[in-house]
Each structure stands twice: as C-alpha cells, then as structure tokens.
C-alpha cells in the first residue's frame, strides 16, 4: 500500500533527508548543521524534531557554520544534509565551495529565494545560480514529489565513488516549499536498499595527513580537471540511479532534460523549476490554436545537459529561454548557457520574468511566444511583467 501524504516541499525534503540519514545507521551515522531562514525554515525544523538513530542535528549560529558542521561531519564519514535559501546561501558560500572542493557528498536543499536587497522573501533562482561554478551538482525540481525523490537520488549520486561531490536540490520558495501536495513517501527498508552505507575514501580517520592541503598551481589544475571529469561521470551515474530508483520505488525521477510536445515544434520554450508547468499549459492552449510550440525543462543544470538539450532542439528554429534570474550586465544565466549550444541561425531570445517571486502567468508566456515567433534575430534580454 502506497504511503501518500499531503505535505509541503519543505516537509518532503526533510522526510527524505531523515530516511537517508537513518539509512546510514549501520555506517558512520548522520550529522547535520542547520540554521533557519525563510523559506527553508520548516525543513530544518522538521529535521530537528526527528529521532534519528546514530544521528545528530546541530543548531548552529550561522549558515556559514551550518555548512562547516556538514564539512566536519562528512569528512568524518557521516552522511550530511542541510538546507538554506537566498542570502543565507550567499553567506554560506565560502564553505559551500569548500564542501565541493574537498569532494564531500553533502546534500543541500535550497529553497530558492531572491537575494536582497531589496529585501524580499519570495522565489527566484538567483541564489543557487550565483553558485553555479561552485562544483556542486544542481537539480531544479518541478513539484513536491520531485523534491522528495531528488533528495534520495542526490545522496546516491553524491556518494558514488565515480562522482563524490555535493548536490544541491533546488525547490522554489513558497511555490514548492510551502505548498502542500500529495507526495508518495518511501519506507525505510526501501531507502536502506537504495542508499547503501556511505564509504568516504578520503575520510579523516587515524592516519596523519592533511585534508585541504596547500598545493602548487599545477596541482590545482589537476584537482579541477578531476572534479570536472567527475561532473561528467554524473550523467551515467544519474541514469543508473534513475533505473535503480524505479526498481526500488516503482516511479522514475525526471530526466535531466524533460521535453513536452517538442517533436514537430518550431519554437521551444526553455525554463527551470515550476514555470515549466505553466509553460506546458500554454503549449496545450496555443497548439489548439495551431502554433507549433513545445516546452523544454532543464532539471539538471550542473552538470549541464549539453547532449540532451541538443537533441531536444533538433529541427527547432526558435528558442525562448525564460530566466527566473539575471546575470546583471549579461542576461539570463540559463539563456547564456542554452545559447552556447544552439545551431547557427537559430534565434535564441531571452525573457527574464518572475524575479522576487513575481507570478509568471500564462499571459506572460503568450507574450513571449508572440515575440519569439515574430522576431528575425536574437535581441537583448526582455523583462516580462515588470512592475505589474
């Protein structure tokens, strides 16, 4: 009998983290550092209130320290998890990078939130995308079930010795973090099976040696090259994990790129997170009116899904990239990356919308479609819905 629960994204994330934490009870346990910030607070609260066998959650004095606890726990061989958002993630940033560069399999749920000022607690992707180059794998979720599943699969790929690096599971603040939806919860036996004990090859134990040592320039390059190559390995590992996940839990987590009605499309609308859900409805409506459009959702942003995107764009002459973020002085972050792989002659137009939690409504997307179908060349990024 399926265990279906009506829960928020935060609750789903924490439930998955607790299951994953318990699953390492036969190993070196679970230890996590946490600090509250809207909209991720309820995830950490839930985590703090659970009994975790051979587990401990440390309530620290800052996000920077929260990640430091995770680093210390992980380097000692424990499974580790934390959650934060917006300015909290930016404050944490130094240790976020350290966790990656020490190749520690920490999993973090980011409740995407605008980075202030202006102070605002609602969602956009500018926090996690500011850490695009931090060496973490990044997964962007579309609904609460995906959040639950992504946390489990994140531990699986993070701890795989071919990958060994942290994973950020991104859920849009409030849109997912605070919205209840029916979510299928796994039981402990299943999770135990899916997540074997963590064995960290470079665990700091008894041998005198330095973790995080100084190195020469050429050794830094060697470290980065290995890390980069391991990122690319994450593809295969993710695919294996998807299959294993399906065997264990009888449902399949989404592919790194999810397409919707793109087969004969002239225009593809590319987005991340929950916006894709609205885009899909617009695609249905406009297809009824005879427009050949489709939707492409990027769920795994790092490593960047070059091949899957190239495949999704086959035969497409126009691409509209919807960014819930902005790289100031450049344009949308997602747009920049999509543009880098589009075929010559293809119009790749950027639309920035939904910053600071602004609703990206069907009429906004229709506006983008109209513009994208009419334009002859790629122009500068267009802000849609500003000041409404």
């Amino acid at each position: 009998m399926k265990d279906m629960q009506m829960i928020t994204g935060n609750h789903a994330a924490a439930t998955a983290a607790v299951l994953a934490g318990r699953a390492n009870r036969s190993g070196r346990g679970f230890c996590s550092g946490v600090y509250p910030i809207t909209p991720s607070t309820e995830c950490m609260e839930f985590l703090c209130l659970q009994e975790i066998e051979k587990g401990h959650v440390v309530k620290v004095e800052s996000e920077h320290s929260a990640m430091a606890v995770c680093i210390g726990a992980s380097v000692s061989g424990a499974r580790s998890f934390t959650t934060t958002a917006g300015n909290g993630l930016i404050y944490m940033a130094e240790n976020v990078m350290v966790a990656a560069f020490l190749r520690l399999p920490v999993v973090m749920v980011v409740g995407n939130r605008a980075v202030g000022p202006p102070w605002n607690i609602w969602t956009d992707h500018s926090d996690s995308l500011a850490l695009r180059d931090s060496g973490w794998i990044q997964i962007y979720c579309g609904n609460n079930q995906e959040v639950f599943d992504a946390v489990l699969i994140a531990f699986r790929i993070a701890e795989d010795h071919r990958v060994l690096m942290p994973v950020m599971v991104c859920q849009e603040g409030f849109v997912l973090s605070h919205t209840m939806a029916l979510t299928e919860i796994a039981d402990q036996t299943q999770v135990d099976q899916f997540l074997p004990q963590l064995r960290l090859p470079h665990r700091l134990a008894q041998t005198p040696r330095v973790v995080g040592s100084f190195t020469s320039s050429r050794m830094v390059e060697a470290h980065r090259e290995q890390h980069h190559n391991a990122m690319r390995m994450a593809w295969d590992v993710y695919r294996e994990a998807q299959t294993d996940f399906e065997k264990t839990f009888s449902r399949r987590p989404p592919d790194p790129v999810v397409t919707y009605r793109t087969e004969d499309a002239e225009l593809a609308l590319v987005s991340m997170g929950t916006i894709a859900e609205t885009v899909n409805r617009v695609v249905d409506n406009l297809r009824d009116r005879g427009l050949k459009i489709g939707s492409v959702r990027v769920t795994m942003f790092r490593p960047f899904p070059f091949d899957a995107l190239k495949k999704a764009f086959t035969g497409i002459s126009r691409i509209a990239v919807i960014d819930r973020d902005i790289s100031l002085g450049f344009g949308g972050v997602l747009w920049g990356e999509v543009r880098s792989l589009a075929q010559p002659g293809v119009v790749v137009q950027n639309y920035v919308s939904g910053l600071g939690g602004g609703d990206v409504r069907p009429e906004h997307i229709e506006q983008m479609v109209k513009d994208a179908l009419e334009r002859k060349t790629t122009g500068p990024s267009i802000f849609v819905g500003v000041g409404e």
Partner: protein
C-alpha cells in the same frame, strides 16, 4: 570505546617544518604533545601560520590527521567531527589550533556558538597578537602601543579581553598558558585534553618576525609578560571559579625589558608607565573575579 592503535607520531609538529625560528606556536606544539603524549587527536586548523606550517600536498608537517578549515569555521568544522566521533563512540579528541585572528576576530562567532553548545572540543588559541602569516597586521588581540603593518604609529585600543568573553559562556574549563611556566602549562594541557565539553586555552605566543624580537628571546619574553602582569596566568572553571596560577611581581623593570626586547613598540613611543596603568586595571578585574583563589 574504540581506541585506534599505533595512532600517531612522536611529534605533533614534525621537525623540518617551515615555521620561523623562535616561533612561540612551534614551542606550544612541542609542549602540548609532550603533555598529552599518545592521546589520539584530530586537528582543525583555520587559516593562520599553523595552516601554512602543514606544508604542501602530499606532505604534512603534522603527526596527526588535520583538516584545514576556512578562517571563520574552526569551531564549527570541529563540531561536525566531534559529533561524528561521539556517534561512533570513538575516543578521539578534536582540537582546534587557531591564531588570534581565527579566535578573537573572524572566528569569534563560530567559537562562541560552539562554546555555547558546549561541544566536546578543545580550542587552543596561540596568540601572537597580529595577523602573522599575512605579514603582521593589527588584530583585536594586538595590545595598545604595538605597531602593525596597517597602523601608522601604534595601536590605540587595548587588547580584547578574550578570557572574560570565553568565561561568560560558562564552559567547563578555560585557561591561559605560559610557555615560561612548563609545569603549569603541562597540567593545563593534560586537564584540557581529558575534560569533556568545550575547553579553551590561550597561549601567549611571541612572533620574532612580527614582534621584531630575537628568536632566542621567545621564552624570556613570555616570562617578562607574566612577571610584569601583562599576561595573567589563570584558569576558569565552569565560567565562574577563577584561579590565579602564577602571581606576578608587577615589576616595572621587567615591563621595560619586555618592551625594549622588541621593536614593535618603538613607533608609538609608549612608556612602560602607560602600560602599567592598563595592567593595574586588568588586575583589578582579575582579582575581583578570583577572590582568594590563588595558586594551585
């Protein structure tokens, strides 16, 4: 308890490391290791001279496992390690070994957090009263009158009273360690490595390079700082029971000699008499707190 076998070297800081001659921190490491003998430790070292001393990959100057943490995060990184050791019933002592920057300044928030949570960590601050490995800039541990590379003459503000701040956390054990009083130092190292919960040690650690002193004068400088009352040697149990371990003679001659053996006080032209006022003020507080607890 699982006690790891044949765990560590006879040295904690191995010979051949790159520390300057007469480095107080090097001496502190030797005395610490000789006191704790074979107690298994893991070190967490934030950015400081001790991090540089580790040397370059794949070598290590340390005879123990070391994690080099970010500057502000020694105590919180150590928290994760100590908690996992506890979860696995391992008899390992997690020790933070930080400079004054990583303690008084950038490390203060995480240090305070770990102390308040009473994490099972020994936090050792070797205090050379400057940012040493960046070349000698002021920290909040730099005493009034001392010069630094980013001050025109001498520091105006007095040294931050870290022991009062730490004691206010009510941790099980906090003490200052004099490298010139080895018996007292040994007792403190041995007690603090064994004690459960958060422990804090402050070691006055002369830096010949930054203080512009003769490397052979390191221990002498500590002796003079203790005798003159500049560096009170004391311990605080449970944040409330203060004990003075070494009674100074408050000699002005010792104070004058302390100043004259270094060139860092030259530019400010600070007079021993001015420093003595500061010492008097400091000792009023210390005596008030210690009551009649003197000696051991």
């Amino acid at each position: 308890m699982n006690r790891p076998e044949s765990y560590q070297d006879s040295h904690l800081l191995r010979p051949g490391n790159t520390n300057c001659g007469g480095c107080g921190m090097s001496i502190a490491f030797q005395m610490f290791k000789r006191s704790i003998v074979d107690t298994p430790v893991q070190l967490v070292i934030p950015a400081c001279c001790a991090a540089v001393a580790a040397g370059g990959f794949p070598f290590s100057a340390y005879g123990a496992p070391v994690l080099l943490s970010t500057f502000a995060s020694a105590a919180s990184t150590a928290t994760g390690m100590a908690q996992v050791a506890r979860l696995n019933s391992e008899d390992i002592r997690v020790v933070c070994w930080a400079g004054d920057g990583g303690t008084y300044d950038i490390g203060m928030a995480s240090l305070s957090g770990a102390a308040e949570r009473n994490e099972d960590i020994l936090f050792v601050c070797y205090d050379n009263e400057i940012y040493g490995n960046t070349g000698g800039q002021r920290s909040s541990a730099t005493p009034a009158g001392a010069g630094a590379t980013n001050i025109l003459k001498g520091k105006i503000e007095p040294k931050k009273d870290i022991m009062s701040i730490i004691a206010a956390h009510g941790i099980p054990y906090a003490a200052t360690v004099s490298l010139a009083d080895p018996d007292d130092a040994k007792r403190k190292f041995q007690r603090s490595i064994k004690e459960k919960g958060f422990r804090f040690l402050l070691i006055l650690s002369p830096c010949p390079t930054g203080w512009k002193s003769d490397p052979s004068m390191t221990i002498e400088l500590v002796r003079l700082a203790v005798r003159s009352g500049l560096f009170p040697v004391l311990e605080v149990e449970n944040g409330s029971r203060w004990t003075i371990n070494v009674e100074p003679d408050f000699s002005r001659d010792d104070l004058a000699r302390y100043v004259s053996l270094q060139r860092r006080f030259k530019k400010s032209e600070i007079k021993p008499d001015e420093m003595a006022e500061e010492i008097d003020l400091k000792w009023k507080t210390v005596r008030m707190r210690a009551g009649c607890n003197t000696g051991v």
